[in-house]
């Protein structure tokens, strides 16, 4: 390394990186050059964004959120955006040895050269990778140690609704939709630079803190009581908001991004193009953070979707289009959309798919329609809870008979493989609730063999431990311990295997309870948890979402050591049930949901009462729409898709 003066040159690091690439696994993931990638000249723009997905390239590249922001920013004449991903330990080792810093894959510029580093957190298990990237980028880990020459580190994505565990490491967090927020942030940074950086970094952050949806943790102080609980979170300057609200993009047809999705050369986890058909969900599943924090429902119109599918296929050459949302079958025009898209792409080897759906006979019809141009392989339903009782607790009601009937219909329609998603460790759950999954699976196979007249039907039960999340009715719940989860999974496995003749048609896929405990700590943690994350990273923790890299022991040991000084521990953050009056670490971050409504919904969960969907029943005052000045935007529009001259015909 030379000298100490830093100059943000945006110079390419590629010549220094290239010799290292010859020595690592899957080097293609580090070279960029994907179809539809963009490289802009450094000096042509005022504001430079590095956007990071803190996981391996193969997971991060297909991420829609980051792809959208990349395009939105690059469309601005005064900004550029490049992407960076977590590097695997083999390359990280060589980079440290050779002094090559964290780089972007687009133009291989040093991440430290950029004005902003935006990091997207869909899951909390990316936190150690954030620290690794900061360290490789030679950006001080702690926000307070950074000066004007360092990028502003911005967290976004769903986990940013409780960024307290990473509050020490990020400069700001953006709550909610990013499309407009990144534009506002860019404006602030451009003006501050233009004016000669008045007031230095602190002034810049203070200006950012006044942007709607932007939270700057350093301007908020957290007080703790003798019992370890938070007494209050107070702002330390009066020119920042007392509570930070979220951003909501209205009229999605106006934001048809990504227009030209990135297509990697390397293989990725998601080998298809996605079109978000709506955002938000008001089904009210009590465990689902995504559904709670993205309200209200905003649909794209059938014609808006049609043109995104068409443009995207032309731009990418993908063979499959996923119609993405939190509950795609709920789109007000889904039946017509499925039929007209299938008509349009008939005979073109273009597949259409929906992510997992609610259990509903209509969804089988829908899947039949979508698979018209392809093979009927597998269909996925997500009942989530094992028994009717627990499904009322989580507000995802479906009777056992309806469930069996729906799955049987699927088999009768030629589907051979049905996957059922469940959670285990839900509030009030007992062994019996989980054991009902086995009964259900057995019944499904029996009925399926009869309906299809074939023994060749399979059912895969996929089950994972439930992790209570902030801004949901279950935010007060005690999380089930890893032992409880593992015990329930064991009895479930035994029950499924009890009858071999049927059991061999049932597959069981599960995750053990340990990673869920760490996710629980990171989800509902406060600023004290930052020390645990830092220690785990210092001791080698990375890629915590990957079982081969995850070490439960490292996390539990670090939690014990770092938290004891505060009189709290891992259980305090995870298995402990919270009381109504407790100040939650994210109470000053406003998703729009009324805390009292959430509490009432939690109480109703405990008494197994359901709540309806406000799309079809009157508003039940969850608080979101009035707080944010938003409204439900749904069809039907009455429009239809015109035939096109299509790709690949």
């Amino acid at each position: 390394m030379t000298g100490t003066t830093r100059h943000a040159s945006g110079e390419t690091l590629y010549p220094r990186l290239e010799p290292l690439l010859a020595q690592v696994q899957k080097p293609i993931q580090y070279v960029g050059g994907e179809l539809n990638a963009q490289v802009k000249a450094w000096d042509d723009v005022a504001v430079h964004w590095a956007l990071m997905y803190p996981d391996a390239y193969e997971v991060g590249l297909p991420n829609q959120g980051l792809m959208i922001l990349y395009e939105v920013l690059n469309e601005r004449p005064d900004a550029l955006a490049e992407r960076t991903y977590a590097v695997w330990p083999d390359l990280a080792g060589l980079m440290r040895e050779q002094g090559v810093p964290q780089f972007t894959v687009d133009a291989h510029r040093a991440v430290g050269d950029f004005d902003l580093l935006g990091v997207s957190f869909a899951t909390e298990l990316g936190y150690t990778n954030l620290l690794e990237a900061l360290d490789l980028a030679r950006i001080p880990l702690h926000a307070l140690d950074r000066d004007e020459s360092h990028p502003v580190v911005v967290a976004g994505g769903h986990a940013a609704f409780n960024p307290e565990p990473i509050a020490d490491f990020v400069d700001c967090a953006v709550l909610g939709d990013g499309e407009q927020a990144v534009g506002d942030i860019t404006d602030v940074v451009a003006a501050w630079k233009e004016q000669g950086r008045p007031g230095g970094r602190v002034e810049l952050l203070a200006r950012l803190a006044r942007v709607d949806g932007v939270y700057v943790p350093r301007f908020y102080a957290v007080g703790y009581g003798p019992d370890g609980a938070i007494t209050a979170v107070t702002r330390t300057r009066d020119d920042v908001p007392a509570r930070v609200g979220k951003r909501t993009v209205m009229d999605l047809d106006e934001w048809p991004y990504p227009k030209t999705p990135l297509v990697p050369l390397a293989e990725s986890v998601h080998e298809r193009m996605s079109v978000e058909i709506f955002r938000g969900c008001t089904r009210g599943c009590r465990f689902c953070q995504a559904g709670m924090i993205t309200r209200p429902v905003r649909e794209r119109t059938i014609t808006g979707i049609g043109s995104m599918v068409d443009q995207g296929l032309r731009a990418t050459g993908y063979e499959e289009v996923g119609l993405l949302s939190l509950s795609s079958a709920d789109h007000s025009e889904i039946g017509q959309l499925a039929k007209e898209l299938a008509d349009r792409y008939e005979g073109t080897n273009t597949g259409l798919s929906l992510p997992s759906t609610r259990v509903d006979a209509f969804n089988v019809t829908l899947a039949n329609e979508l698979s018209r141009n392809g093979r009927r392989s597998g269909l996925t339903f997500a009942p989530e809870g094992g028994s009717e009782r627990i499904r009322r607790v989580i507000n995802k009601t479906v009777s056992k008979d309806d469930l069996v009937r729906t799955v049987t219909t699927a088999y009768a329609n030629g589907w051979r493989q049905v996957k059922l998603y469940f959670m285990c460790g839900l509030p009030t759950e007992t062994d019996e609730d989980v054991l009902e999954i086995a009964e259900l699976a057995v019944e499904v196979i029996r009925a399926g063999r009869e309906a299809s007249g074939s023994k060749d039907v399979r059912c895969t039960v996929s089950i994972g431990g439930f992790v209570p999340k902030p801004h949901t009715p279950f935010q007060w719940a005690g999380q089930a311990s890893a032992e409880t989860i593992d015990h329930r999974l064991r009895v479930l496995r035994q029950a499924i295997n009890a009858d071999r003749r049927i059991g061999r048609s049932i597959g069981l896929r599960y995750h053990d309870g340990k990673p869920g405990v760490v996710e629980g700590l990171l989800s509902r943690g406060d600023r004290r948890v930052g020390r645990v994350i830092e220690r785990v990273w210092r001791e080698g923790g990375r890629f915590d979402g990957w079982s081969e890299h995850f070490s439960y022991e490292r996390w539990t040991a670090a939690a014990a050591e770092e938290l004891s000084a505060f009189g709290v521990d891992l259980d305090w953050f995870t298995t402990r049930e919270r009381t109504q009056d407790e100040v939650l670490p994210w109470d000053h971050l406003d998703s729009g949901l009324d805390k009292e409504w959430l509490w009432d919904d939690w109480q109703e969960a405990l008494s197994e009462e359901e709540v309806a969907d406000c799309r079809w029943t009157p508003c039940y005052d969850c608080g979101v729409c009035p707080t944010n000045g938003t409204e439900i935007q749904i069809g039907p529009t009455g429009r239809s898709l015109l035939p096109l001259t299509v790709v690949g015909r």
Partner: protein, 255 residues
């Protein structure tokens, strides 16, 4: 009897096109699988009317000829595609090239001559150029001389079934050194053998015979592939197809 998908069988192949493409710059790190996926997508994007195999999961008719290893650049990768409708080869080349990421560049496209034999039969050797940053041309020249003077140079090669000893000398038809101070360049013609002997193996052989150990990873480019003739030249495998086309265009013109 095997189950058959509903509907009419896919349309037959009416035209075979042969492509030469390059992988350049950073995309030399793409693997064969990566390139195959990219090519299939590019064919769709470019709206090339591909012929498909029959069956439940129809595949476009594409056949690849021995891909350069991951990490090696190439100016001479070959592939043959089957079309269900006739197209002008040059138009296909341009459309495909525009649909592939920069760095995967389609250089030539010719129609396969009827009865001219397979593309694979026209390739039995490759010409390589290997840049060796940090190695002096004299060092390389000495190592090459020692290598050429040997009858057999055994190196251990990683194969699917573990390490295997292979002779790296025999398949090397010619080798020469050049370059400038600080960066020697090795050029060589290597015959196709099984298991394949690649630039890495020859470099391992140079280390074995002359202790040549490049301080940083060498950069290899496959410059040409084809049949090795007696004069040591690697012939253009698309040559016969091109000749057939010119001939028949000539005949048409004469009518």
């Amino acid at each position: 009897m095997a189950r058959q998908p509903e509907g009419p069988p896919p349309p037959p192949t009416v035209q075979k096109l042969r492509l030469r493409y390059a992988k350049r710059g950073p995309l030399r790190f793409a693997s064969h699988r990566d390139l195959a996926r990219a090519l299939e997508r590019a064919l769709r994007r470019a709206q090339v009317p591909m012929a498909f195999s029959a069956g439940f999961s129809p595949h476009p008719k594409i056949s690849y000829v021995g891909a350069a290893p991951t990490g090696a650049a190439s100016e001479a990768e070959y592939v043959e595609i089957g079309l269900a409708e006739r197209r002008d080869p040059e138009a296909v080349r341009a459309a495909l090239d525009a649909s592939l990421p920069p760095g995967v560049d389609v250089l030539e496209c010719v129609e396969a001559a009827e009865g001219g034999g397979s593309l694979a039969d026209r390739i039995d050797a490759a010409r390589w150029r290997v840049e060796l940053p940090g190695v002096e041309p004299e060092e390389l020249a000495a190592a090459v001389a020692a290598f050429l003077a040997s009858d057999v140079v055994t190196v251990a090669k990683r194969t699917k079934n573990g390490l295997k000893d292979v002779d790296a000398r025999e398949p090397v038809a010619s080798a020469a050194s050049a370059g400038t101070a600080g960066c020697a360049i090795l050029t060589m013609v290597v015959r196709q053998v099984t298991p394949a002997v690649r630039p890495d193996d020859v470099l391992a052989a140079l280390a074995a015979v002359a202790d040549l150990r490049p301080p940083s990873p060498p950069r290899a480019v496959r410059e040409a592939q084809g049949r090795l003739d007696d004069s040591g030249i690697v012939a253009d495998p698309l040559g016969p197809d091109r000749a057939a086309r010119t001939r028949c265009q000539g005949e048409h013109a004469a009518v």
